[in-house]
């Protein structure tokens, strides 16, 4: 497994915290009517994307679902511009035309942010195809929700990826619910990572609340894919603290279930490890907390004050 440096621990903690603070602030702005439409929060799932990030090459590509704010932050993108997209302003990553679900940053190899369940899976497979076609050593990380694992195009993509040995790492973020339907009410067979078996795609299940397990699995899987062996599936068992979207009170699950997961909060796990290993003191952690809160507060401020897109923008970017 990848040897983690002291700086890595701080990086993990900072990024996960940044995602959480960002999402809480987004919820607040949504409550104030500054963010409209659909808004899907990543709170509880932070370890997944940050863990994967720890093993990433910057020229690797990423494609994900509509629950994408955390993915962008982990990719090192500017929270100000992410928040400005959520508020629909011209400084947003999609100039206010995409919104929460449709954000992209081509220069950072971040290919969305896709609003249609499952659609990003063939797309990510095609991006991986391009890496191979161009003779690049890079891979495409393609995130999939548990809900999409019952969507036909996912299996079409799995088949082609295995057939053509494409460098794609599929990461199933199993947060237990596709909107309000629990996985056991939607999937015949709960081991989603085994669904590549028929195509000869290896898969494994990982504890998504513990970032160290994720790093270990992602490191191993990433190497396998990068070495030209074809696709690999990691199923990360995670949990979203919030509802599916902002208007979902998540009454389909018990408070006990939620509280249970909060006991193994992914951010607290990293914090405990940092203190145990004496990588930072409590005061130093407090400083990170304060700085993060401040950074996100500024991002919200920026996002509210950025201008709305000009009317003339309605007709731009339809064709190149």
């Amino acid at each position: 497994m990848k040897k983690l440096q002291k700086a890595d621990y701080i990086k993990m903690y900072s990024y996960m915290l940044k995602i959480r603070r960002f999402e809480e602030r987004a919820a607040q702005l949504y409550g104030m009517g500054k963010i409209g439409g659909f808004c899907h929060l990543y709170i509880g799932q932070e370890a997944v994307v940050v863990g994967i990030l720890m093993t990433i090459d910057k020229n690797d590509s990423v494609v994900t679902t509509y629950r994408d704010h955390g993915h962008m932050i982990a990719r090192g993108l500017d929270p100000k511009r992410i928040m400005a997209e959520l508020t629909g302003r011209e400084d947003g990553y999609s100039a206010g035309k995409g919104g929460s679900m449709h954000m992209f940053s081509k220069e950072n190899n971040f290919y969305g942010g896709h609003g249609i369940v499952g659609a990003q899976v063939p797309i990510g497979t095609g991006i991986a195809f391009t890496h191979k076609y161009n003779g690049e050593k890079n891979i495409c990380r393609t995130y999939i929700g548990d809900g999409a694992m019952n969507n036909g195009q996912v299996f079409e993509a799995f088949n082609i990826a295995a057939l053509w040995k494409l460098p794609v790492l599929y990461i199933i973020e199993n947060n237990k619910y596709g909107m309000g339907t629990s996985v056991d009410r939607a999937a015949a067979g709960l081991d989603l990572y085994k669904r590549g078996e028929a195509f000869g795609i290896p898969g494994e299940k990982v504890d998504g609340m513990n970032i160290f397990s994720i790093i270990e699995a992602a490191d191993k899987a990433g190497k396998y894919v990068r070495e030209g062996n074809g696709p690999y599936i990691i199923e990360v068992q995670t949990y979203r603290y919030r509802g599916h979207s902002m208007s979902d009170p998540a009454k389909y699950r018990t408070k006990e279930e939620l509280d249970n997961y909060k006991q193994t909060d992914p951010i607290e796990i990293v914090k405990a490890e940092i203190l145990k290993k004496k990588i930072a003191t409590n005061d130093e952690i407090e400083k990170i907390n304060k700085d993060t809160l401040e950074e996100i507060k500024n991002a919200a401020e920026f996002a509210i004050n950025s201008p709305f897109p000009k009317d003339s923008e309605l007709y731009t970017d339809v064709y190149l």
């Binding site: 809480e24 969305g112 797309i123 990510g124 497979t125 391009t130 970017d317 339809v318 190149l320």
Partner: protein
């Protein structure tokens, strides 16, 4: 500094809420992420978390209070040593601007013009570089793909049976032999999957040519074509374009019945972000396919199975192209205008000959070549000259390309029309199998002649 906690909108439609329960009390210290209250919305009861940190200085509403407007302060947190200062309630900002239902027509037309390249469509009769040999449409398409693949390594072909089988309709003949299996790829029968894959490859900078064995099967993949290929440039604020050509036979073949005989021209033409081309001859197939491959946008290239064997001269210059968005005036005339495209060009030409012989009517025929962006200028100029218009196409009548043309002409050339516009379409039913019914279903030369007579008030 103190911060107000406001009544949040917890659904897109919520305007006020009830305070079911406080989970904090005055004097408590709250941290970001702590639960502070339960709020009952128009839909459900939800928990609210703190975003800011500090000591609870005041709770402004009691538990059980109802109909508290969204964005009204419900609590104050901050530093207990500071004086509480309740700020005046800011008015609730209206987030969603009223969207104008009808855009200014001028803006729309202007915008359309911007899309169109200002080079006329080259005329075959004036082409000095015409081949002496006549080749089939199939060969013209094949040659153009090969020429572009020789020039640019990022161009590749994928689809069902395009490689080893040499193409279900032999349009990709010998390409595997010349370019190898890395660039000519047989796919499994997984339209949804391989279309998404090709779209992803195009996002990442390749220039795929995707062959649908027929466009009927593009229905399996239409989500990727519309939601991914057509919209991503817009949704990404101009960052990610999708240079891809979706090509294959469209429309009726011969007696393959309802599921294998459908014309999708108006379906795809309705979608902003797509360009739609429908060639009618080997000559324009060559020039248009080159433009499609070179275009940085997704292009739907609608071929026709029955036309694959049609022979004609072509321009063999490897840079010869026909601009997208330009119609061709196939035949000039003064008495009425026939606007058509794809296979119906042949029937329209037959009809024009008979109209001349039998009714002394001199029809002008416009071959659209591109359906989106539509060359409205050429259509309008013709109608201004002839004052009568019929449209001829294979698609179903409801909301067809002809319907849109009729709309544009009545809007922009109303005073020039001497009769209503008449559309000639297929019958408004699924395609039948029987050869007798199939003939009845499809537009025939007689239908075109009858429409021409009608706009000319000939009994």
């Amino acid at each position: 500094m103190s911060t107000e906690i406001l009544m949040p909108a917890l659904s897109p439609t919520m305007t006020e809420g009830n305070l079911s329960k406080w989970l904090i009390k005055k004097g408590d210290t709250v941290k970001a992420g702590d639960l502070i209250a339960e709020i009952e919305t128009d839909k459900a009861t939800m928990e609210v978390e703190a975003v800011d940190e500090g000591v609870v200085l005041d709770l402004l509403f009691k538990e059980g209070e109802t109909n508290i407007p969204v964005n009204k302060a419900i609590a104050i947190i901050g530093d207990p040593n500071e004086k509480i200062e309740v700020k005046k309630q800011a008015p609730v900002e209206k987030v969603i601007e009223e969207k104008k239902v009808e855009q200014n027509i001028e803006t729309k037309i202007e915008n359309k013009k911007d899309d169109i390249i200002d080079t006329p469509s080259p005329k075959i009769e004036e082409d000095t570089n015409l081949s002496s040999a006549e080749i089939t449409m199939r060969q013209a398409l094949r040659d153009t793909m090969a020429e572009e693949m020789r020039k640019d390594n990022t161009v590749f072909i994928l689809g069902e049976e395009v490689a080893e089988y040499q193409g279900a309709y032999k349009v990709t003949q010998d390409l595997l032999q010349e370019f190898g299996k890395e660039r000519v790829l047989d796919t499994p029968i997984s339209e949804h999957g391989f279309t998404g894959l090709a779209v992803g490859a195009a996002f990442k900078g390749l220039r795929p040519i995707l062959e649908f064995m027929t466009f009927n099967f593009s229905m399996q993949a239409i989500d990727q074509i519309i939601n991914s290929a057509a919209k991503t440039l817009y949704m990404s604020g101009g960052q990610i374009n999708c240079p891809i050509v979706f090509r294959g036979p469209n429309g009726a073949a011969a007696q393959v019945a309802a599921q294998h005989s459908q014309d999708f021209s108006s379906w795809y033409s309705q979608v902003p972000g797509l360009k739609v081309i429908a060639p009618s001859t080997p000559y324009n197939a060559k020039g248009l396919l080159r433009s499609a491959i070179l275009d940085p946008n997704p292009v739907i290239f609608l071929e026709n199975e029955i036309l694959y064997g049609l022979k004609g001269p072509v321009n063999n210059d490897v840079n010869f192209s026909i601009p997208i968005g330009k119609a061709n005036i196939e035949k000039e005339g003064k008495d009425l205008t026939i606007v058509t495209y794809s296979i119906m060009l042949q029937k329209s030409k037959e009809a024009a000959l008979r109209l001349k012989e039998e009714y002394k009517l001199d029809a002008e025929i416009i071959d659209l070549q591109t359906l989106r962006p539509l060359d409205t200028e050429t259509i309008l100029n013709s109608v201004i000259k002839t004052n009568r218009l019929i449209t001829v196409e294979e698609s179903w009548p409801f909301g067809s390309v002809g319907s849109e043309i009729a709309n544009i002409v009545q809007r922009d050339a109303f005073d020039y029309l001497d009769s209503p516009v008449i559309k000639v379409n297929s019958a408004d039913v699924p395609m039948p199998y029987s050869i007798s019914l199939e003939k009845l279903y499809l537009p025939q030369v007689d239908d075109i002649i009858n429409a021409a007579k009608k706009v000319s008030y000939i009994k």
